[in-house]
Symmetry: C2
Subunit: 383 residues, 2 copies
């Protein structure tokens, strides 16, 4: 299901032995057309992994016929040999499907700085090609998991057309461990340039506003493919709306499954001079370890909210900023507000509202707390 | 001793009941002259605490006769009432010493957003004034501790003149818990403008290159006072050298005592196009939670070093960057170098050398790992 729900798509997920656990680790999603329009957003990290370098070339054509994804190895910082591995993988997929390598996008996730076991990966691709099916979406979603505890999928039905999707990762565009990978599919008729504009807009208000730990991966990839199999040509606005709905659904699933987190935190900055200011102030909170540990400890430490936004260049006057945590305005005019004892932080959901009193714009950043389990998971990962 | 070692200074530290533990919590350092030149560097946080706002006014005169410091409350984000508390504290010190309030700098550390118990603080000031002595430096150093496990002090003897100092905190200019406070004293004859230039240079290569958790406090203060009691007038270069030595000594003590840390990490970025580039790349590593947790787990995860510097705008080519961890060049040319298994991370000291191969400048940033104890301490602080 999921990516294979829209017409024109088949998918598969198989276990190729890249993961020591024997779980699925190679996924294949194929667009059988009639169209093969595609668009993507990649990491801006200046050490892009080999599959990102390769897929950027593929996407320059605006066309993708298939995407192969693997967990169990990021193929990042692996030099010319690593790039050849990605190229060989695309060639192998192309051979199995009778298409060109330039039609095949590649995405990888796992440990940086380790070469992929190509013999196992190639055998996995062969097995995945054999297993391709219109029911293969769930297997594919399982195959891209790393520390994810559950697969993340979405389906958005519209008037005669559908968007499907799958994702792995734990917080983004600053993903936590290794990477965020997302594949979206639609059977709508959408030209590549419309698809690119719509995807960029959709990611800017979803994945790019989830910031689990501020760490930007070398492998982040969000890919969308349009088969046109529904025969329906929605407006650009409708495409943007549906992709945004799918991306937001997946983003919230990533947040809820962030490594070791015990809180889902929505930081809304209101009455900012600009959306950019609101995002800057929100991100400063989302990346402040002192605030994130305080929230882990159920401590409504609003001083750390102010200390965080006090490091930014957002427009505000220090004596006009209000902070409300879970409905209690604990800070008024940059000073002491209602008693912090009134704030109940025992649940998983936390809302922090910062009113800058400096304009009319607003934005929300979603993040998690910084927990003992986060440290444990991320200190034990590769060893 | 410490701040009271240079001639012309007396100090005291007393327990006023601000700390529930009954430990020392009010410190007083008095410059008996003949000179009263002073300089300071304050936090750049846009929510400066009341004592920072006050002390900035005092320092505008280039003169300080006394500084009063308290732990047990930061007096930050406390509005007009909080500022009045600081003013009243300075007035009370002035009354005890027979000087003007404008001669008295104030520094506070503790929880943000809580008013100080003025009755206890005032009584503490009176007691501290009575206890002032040329042997009071150690008591003063104890009185400014919060989560510090040991007091931090330094003495630098030069040719006929001396610099003394004390500090509290755990990592800066991004201090961890609450704040970094530093008081330096010297019996050299130094005009205020020379002192300011020397202090700025000294802090820029010491405290500003220690980055424990990237969080900038509302209260950070580094104050230096010159009594001229030695009668010696050193050159500006010699003053800068001695202040830098004192500041570096204290900065390394802060690093070693950072909350819950198990590693002292020196990140040196070499062959950068500029010192600024080297600092930017070093800070990106120092603030990367994934790298810091990996090091806590004794994992030489060099991919996370590249992923961190890959988010910066420092000049480099991705395929020309080398990374050496504790002497093993685990990454060459942005790709796999010597086996990571050869890296021994079991000790407390870790050196990470990043060679950008993009110029001739270099800089070192010092930081700590991100440990389970860090999360524990910072989640349990105010509750």
């Amino acid at each position: 299901m999921t990516v294979s729900v829209p017409r024109g798509f088949r998918a598969a997920g198989v276990a190729a032995g890249l993961k020591s656990t024997g779980a699925n680790d190679v996924a294949l999603v194929v667009n059988d057309g009639p169209d093969d329009a595609a668009a993507a957003v990649f990491t801006t990290n200046r050490f892009p992994a080999a599959p990102v370098q390769w897929s950027r070339q593929v996407l320059a054509t605006g066309r993708v016929r298939a995407v192969v994804l693997n967990s169990g190895g990021a193929n990042a910082c692996t030099g010319a040999g690593g790039f050849q591995d990605t190229h060989a993988t695309a060639e192998h997929v192309a051979g199995e499907l009778g298409i060109g390598a330039i039609d095949v996008a590649v995405a990888s996730t796992g440990l940086i700085g380790v070469r992929l076991p190509m013999e196992q990966l190639t055998a996995g691709v062969t097995a995945a090609a054999k297993a391709l099916s219109e029911d293969g979406g769930q297997d594919a979603a399982l195959a891209i998991m790393t520390t994810d505890s559950v697969p993340k999928t979405t389906v958005q039905h519209r008037d005669g057309w559908t968007v499907g999707g799958m994702a792995k990762g734990a917080g983004m565009l600053a993903p936590s461990l290794a990477t965020m990978l997302v594949v979206l599919t639609t059977d709508a008729v959408v030209p590549a340039d419309v698809l690119q504009t719509a995807l960029k807009q959709a990611t800017s208000v979803s994945f790019e506003r989830v910031d689990s730990d501020g760490c930007l991966s070398t492998n982040d990839t969000v890919l969308v493919m349009a088969s046109g199999a529904s025969g329906v040509t929605p407006s650009a606005e409708d495409v943007t709306e549906a992709l945004t709905a799918a991306a937001t659904d997946l983003a919230m699933q990533l947040l809820a499954d962030a490594e070791g987190s015990t809180k889902d935190i929505a930081i809304t900055v209101r009455n900012a001079a600009s959306v950019e200011d609101a995002l800057t102030a929100g991100r400063a909170c989302a990346r402040n370890n002192l605030l994130k540990t305080a929230l882990f400890g159920n401590d409504p430490n609003w001083g750390r909210v102010l200390a965080a936004i006090g490091t930014t260049d957002a427009a505000f006057e220090a004596d006009r900023v209000d902070v409300t945590i879970n409905g209690v305005t604990v800070c008024r005019g940059g000073a002491i507000g209602d008693p912090r004892e009134g704030v109940d932080l025992t649940g998983r959901e936390i809302t922090i509202d910062v009113d800058l009193n400096a304009g009319t714009e607003q934005a929300t950043i979603w993040t998690n707390d910084l927990s003992i389990a986060y440290v444990h998971e991320n200190s034990a990962y590769s060893t």
